[in-house]
Amino acid sequence: MQPKILIADDEQSIVVPLEFLMEQKGYQVMAAYNGEEAIEKIISFNPDLILLDIMLPIIDGFEVCQMIRSNPNWKDIKIIFVSAMGREVDIAKGLALGADAYITKPFANIEIINKVKEVLEHNK
């Protein structure tokens, strides 16, 4: 079964290429444009991995991450932060909150593909 990936980002210009890329790599993809929608999609879509932006409307990425990690049903969901917040303190905070990886924007497509692959394989 193809792994499911949820892309949570309010920038369409990020979501569209990522969605295309992930589909090309054979993943099932769904997109959410704010934090609240991301939570709803987690419930309905039950993804294996989330590419999570931090500066999301309504509920920010850090909070979404905390909510996922505090729910035992979602403990297997992998989280990769994809954010323009590139300070060391932001990265440290993201990882401390339970993310599996942190990618700063801008990124190379190959970088994100490899990271997704690596995180998902680590699961197995």
Binding site: E11, Q12, S13, I14, V16, P17, L18, F20, L21, Q24, M55, V82, A84, M85, G86, T104, K105, P106, F107, A108, N109, I110
Partner: protein
């Protein structure tokens, strides 16, 4: 005891003893007589009783008359002589004894007066010499004091107990607010004043921590300054630096606190930080979109046309966003950029006038300047801008061979155009390019700057062109951003050296023992006093109201005229006509003044931790006491009364009102019958009474209070 009473007590006691002795002798004599002799004497005395009784009365009357004479001719003049000699010796060297008494006493007084005259002349000579020697050092001190008071930083110097020894105007401004409501906040936080505690304005823990840090640093001999941030009552952020003051043994005897208001600076920095942060994030996000889209297109060249359009659309949109973001950030950043070079607002015409004057110092150079009709305001660093102009003119002379130039100023939109024009060929683009990058040395050893850099600092541009409108004149044009007309910024007070130094400091406090030890046993000269006076609607504390409170502080024997309290009070009732005649305060003056309930808490704070001093203090204290329940302020300070103190030092005088004491002690009173005026006069008298008290063996507060209690005036109640 009153000297008159004392004398009569002495006479009466002597008389009683004499009588007892006489009667005893008479009784012994009577016992030795035979019955016949007793009968004879009895008969004679009964017959002549009236004569014997009259003789005794006459002798008694004569004795009383003689004793009264002795009292007024010898005893009282001798007492006065002692008191007045003390005055001459201690507080008023110009005082001369003028008393009625016996010839001997008068001669003695004359001899003392003569001695005083000689002493005064001698003293005058010494004073003149001291005065001359002091003048020079005084000048230097005045310059120091004036400079201190105009420093942009707030300075507080404290002794190891945290008592303020020195402060400057800025420190006071930083920690005290002057307007109505904010004064209430002052109350909670304490005041800046000599002898006041610094802990009233800065948290004690913070200072103790800073001093600990300094002490640790001193041990390692590497760091001796501690910095911390504190908040003033107007919610301004202050950067404080604590620097220790060491004695010869390298022990901390005090510390200097330097305060800088960094609120604005921090705001600017935080605005810039957030600008930079949002710019970085925005750029990252946009580039992420562009990069991802491009990589998809490159990696999958065979994608469908609609998808390709979508990706190119993303790239296009994001590149526009990126461009806008850069524009916006640059616009915001330029505000910060301006603040980095201190630029002064001035009219462009004034700038050119200065340039013209300087340029024409060189022989042969002529500048024709057409002043604009309206003033054009620009912001410039005058020195570098004038240097840039002079440099341009000199280069133009060399390049074109011209010595005559025309200058004009135009105001267009947001810019001021300054044109330098000349007859002949324009400057070639290449020449100007070289000139633009040529180094102009601002000072001999100063930082080298190019014309381009100077222009950049001013957000200005300089370029060469031919002005077709003004008969094809060659021209160099400077475009400077225009600023609106306004009053000049960065105005500072003029530093005017005062004739006498404002009392902002008292270094003797370095040696002051603990802050609030037992006041009772401390010498009078070491205590801090609040001398006060009230003006009232009348003389009945039960019915009358306070309409004015004036007070002044005495620290280390100095009357601090800069630290006074002067407040009119709205009594909420009409003023009796006779009281207006007395104090000159009229009803309309009190209409917008605070009520006594508002004033007393402030006065309480002003007088906190000090000894209250007043003339006829019983009346003023009673007035304050009547307001205790309303104002919720109870004055528990120790109190001294100058009227009672004067009665202690001059018991032979019956007059102890302010004027009489002032005349005796050689104090001239100004501004009598205003609360502050009377408080100042009382304060001056009090400082003169302290040495007189010590001559009588009264050194401490307790001794002064107890001696006061024994005077007859202490019985007056209100």
């Amino acid at each position: 005891m009153n000297p008159i009473n004392k004398f009569w007590w002495f006479v009466a006691t002597s008389a009683v003893i004499t009588l007892v002795l006489l009667f005893s002798l008479a009784w012994l004599f009577w016992q030795q007589l035979t019955p016949a002799e007793k009968i004879i004497i009895d008969t004679i005395s009964s017959k002549n009783f009236i004569y014997i009784f009259s003789a005794i009365l006459l002798i008694a009357g004569c004795l009383i008359f003689v004793f009264d004479g002795i009292l007024h001719v010898y005893i009282l003049p001798a007492k006065k002589l002692t008191g007045e000699t003390h005055i001459i010796n201690s507080v008023n060297h110009s005082h001369r004894i003028c008393i009625e008494g016996s010839r001997d006493i008068m001669r003695l007084a004359e001899a003392i007066n003569e001695g005083a005259e000689r002493y005064e002349n001698l003293q005058r000579n010494v004073d003149e010499m001291i005065h001359f020697a002091r003048t020079e050092s005084e000048k230097e001190r005045n310059i120091l004091a004036a400079v201190m008071s105009e420093l942009p930083e707030g300075i507080l110097i404290c002794n190891s107990e945290g008592q303020i020894i020195l402060y400057n105007k800025k420190a006071r401004q930083l920690f005290e607010s002057r307007t109505g409501l904010k004064q209430e906040q002052n109350l909670q936080n304490g005041l800046v004043g000599i002898g006041r505690s610094v802990f009233g304005i800065i948290e004690k823990k913070l200072l103790v921590h800073a001093l600990d840090e300094i002490a640790a640093g001193l041990k390692e001999a590497n760091r001796n300054v501690s910095s911390f941030i504190t908040v003033s009552r107007e919610e301004k952020l202050l950067r404080a630096e604590a620097v220790p003051v060491l004695n010869h043994l390298k022990q901390i005897t005090g510390f200097i606190l330097i305060f800088e208001d960094i609120t604005e600076q921090l705001e600017k920095e935080s605005r810039f930080d957030s600008l930079l942060l949002s710019f970085t994030r925005g750029v990252r996000a946009s580039i992420a979109g562009i990069r991802s889209a491009i990589e998809v297109v490159l990696e999958y060249p065979d994608i469908k046309k609609e998808q390709l359009n979508e990706f190119t659309g993303i790239i296009h949109r994001e590149s526009i966003t990126l461009g806008n973001m850069i524009d916006e950030t640059f616009f915001n950043y330029s505000c910060r950029f301006n603040s980095m070079w201190p630029l002064v607002k001035m009219s462009a015409a004034d700038l050119i006038e200065t340039v013209k004057k300087k340029a024409e110092e060189k022989p042969g150079v002529t500048i024709h300047f057409l002043k604009p009709d309206i003033p054009c305001w620009i912001k410039v660093d005058t020195y570098s801008m004038i240097t840039a102009f002079l440099f341009l003119l000199e280069e133009l002379e060399n390049e074109t061979g011209q010595h005559e130039f025309r200058c004009s100023i135009e105001c267009k939109n947001k810019f001021i155009m300054i044109n330098i024009m000349w007859e002949g060929n324009p400057l070639k683009i290449e020449t100007f390019r070289v000139l633009d990058k040529k180094i102009i040395r601002i000072e001999k050893e100063g930082k080298p700057l190019t014309l381009k850099e100077i222009m950049k600092h001013h957000e200005a541009e300089a370029f060469s062109f031919v002005d077709r409108n003004t008969a094809n004149k060659s021209c160099i044009r400077l475009l400077l951003p225009s600023t609106g007309e306004s009053v000049s910024e960065n105005t500072r007070n003029l530093t005017i050296l005062p004739e006498s130094r404002p009392v902002f400091y008292d270094f003797d406090l370095f040696n002051q023992p603990g802050q609030v030890p037992e006041m009772d046993n401390r010498p009078l000269s070491e205590l801090i006093y609040t001398v006060f006076d009230t003006e009232t609607t009348g003389l009945n504390p039960e019915e009358d109201e306070i309409i004015s409170v004036g007070a002044i502080r005495i620290v280390n024997g100095h009357l601090l005229r800069d630290e006074s309290f002067d407040q009119l009070v709205n009594p909420g009732r009409t003023l009796p006509f006779e009281s207006i005649q007395f104090h000159g305060i009229e009803e309309h003056m009190l209409q917008n003044q605070p009520s006594i309930e508002q004033v007393l808490p402030r006065f309480g704070k002003f007088a906190e931790g000090t000894v209250l001093v007043a003339h006829n203090a019983a009346f003023d204290m009673r007035m304050l006491q009547m307001k205790e329940s309303k104002s919720k302020i109870k004055f528990i300070n120790p109190v001294l009364d100058t009227m009672l103190l004067s009665a202690i030092v001059h018991p032979a005088h019956t007059d102890h009102n302010l004027e009489a004491i002032a005349a005796r002690l050689g104090v001239s009173i100004i501004g009598r019958h205003t609360a502050l005026g009377d408080a100042i006069a009382t304060g001056e008298l009090f400082t003169k009474l302290i040495p007189l008290l010590s001559k009588m063996g009264i050194y401490t507060l307790k001794q002064a209070r107890e001696a006061s209690r024994k005077t007859q005036f202490a019985k007056i109640k209100y």
